[in-house]
């Protein structure tokens, strides 16, 4: 099952999705932010966007804040959870690995 963040109603209504699918372009580890026909790839190693287009400014600030800063629960942040899920799904290309 893909790793998908449960977003607020407002973001879901605006058709935002954040997920890691079972088959992705693997290098480097990233999370996909999907809206309509667009996808932004956010690098899980650096926190930077991987592609010039679409323009990252189109992503609502609250969504980026949720992905990068918010806590998922008492034990981990959303970002840590995404990294953990990537590592489970792609053990041959882990976030912390230099390989």
């Amino acid at each position: 099952m893909p790793a998908e963040l449960l977003l607020s109603n407002k973001l879901r209504k605006a058709r935002w999705k954040v997920k890691i699918r079972e088959k992705e372009r693997l290098e480097p580890p990233h999370v996909s932010i999907i809206n309509g026909t667009n996808t932004w790839r956010l690098c899980l190693r650096s926190g930077d966007f991987l592609d010039e287009e679409p323009d990252p400014d189109e992503i609502p600030e609250e969504l980026l804040k949720y992905i990068k800063i918010e806590r998922l629960n008492d034990e981990q942040t959303v970002w840590e959870w995404l990294c953990e899920r990537w590592d489970e799904m792609y053990p041959s290309n882990k976030v912390a690995s230099a390989d």
Binding site: R21, E24, R25, D48
Partner: protein, 270 residues
């Protein structure tokens, strides 16, 4: 990248009802719902158009009304259960014919969005999995097709495996679903379409564009370790990937290409 010139004024929808036409309104389609209208549309078909049919009976009527040998009418998207016996006739009339045996297309609203997109060739509109040949055929928004083997969808590290009987295209053509398993359209096109690779390469903000960088990317995409390239050593692979080998010998290149499942010429495109 293959592009299809879809003149939005020339979309013809074959449907007896109005629901589909309403949902495809952004394409400004001409609605054809009777035999007489099919015949009239054919008489007036001076330019290649996109014909979207929701009903087998209307598609059959179209074929019966064509004056043979037919000129190219454009492209056809069959959203009803396809009749394989009609396929050759359809291919004589249309440059591309997208079809499915059991549905497998996006819902009307998302279909419309993809067909309207300037990037439609990079998005999917539907497809099907064929359990007999163990292949998946996917239709792009420009009605071009791509066929990939089941083996292109390996089990995820967490154990999730594709269920090919549960096929769907979602996320406005950006995801292919096989039950609980999801594959990004991007990764499928990246692995199978050199033109797509060339285009997205330009869009990467930071990328190692050396041959070593390409080999590294492909190795990771194939989920291989440096130790999987025997008789080449891990050290050799690492040196090649870091660009420390001045020139990769043809014999080495042949081993790399074979292990990575591409031709030596293709290696640099990743």
């Amino acid at each position: 990248m293959t592009t299809l010139s879809l003149n939005q004024d020339k979309t013809i929808v074959l449907s007896r009802g109005v629901t589909h036409v309403r949902k495809l309104a952004a394409l400004r389609p001409r609605k054809v719902s009777t035999i007489a209208e099919v015949q009239k549309s054919l008489q007036e078909a001076n330019e290649p158009s996109l014909w979207i049919s929701f009903e087998g009976a209307l598609t059959n009527e179209l074929l019966r009304s064509v004056r043979w040998p037919s000129k190219s009418l454009g492209h056809a998207l069959l959203l009803h259960r396809a009749n394989l016996a009609s396929m050759t006739a359809l291919q004589r009339c249309f440059g591309r014919v997208a079809f499915s045996a059991d549905g497998g297309f996006l819902a009307d609203e998302e279909l419309c969005e993809v067909l309207m997109s300037p990037r439609r060739g990079d998005l999917l509109i539907g497809g099907f999995a064929d359990d007999a040949s163990h292949t998946v055929t996917l239709w792009r928004g420009n009605l071009d097709s791509i066929t990939v083997p089941y083996s292109a969808f390996p089990k995820s590290g967490d154990g999730t495996a594709p269920d090919f009987s549960q096929f769907a295209v979602t996320d406005c053509g950006q995801t292919v679903q096989f039950g609980d398993y999801e594959a990004s359209t991007d990764s499928i096109l990246y692995e199978n379409d050199p033109d797509y690779r060339r285009t997205i390469k330009k869009n990467r903000i930071v990328a190692d564009s050396s041959p070593g960088g390409a080999i590294r990317r492909l190795r990771l995409q194939r989920q291989l370790r440096r130790s999987d390239f025997s008789p080449l050593t891990e050290k050799t692979i690492a040196r090649i990937e870091r660009g420390e080998s001045e020139k990769i010998q043809p014999k080495t290149l042949a081993i790399l290409a074979e292990k990575l499942g591409v031709s030596p010429d293709e290696l640099g495109t990743f």
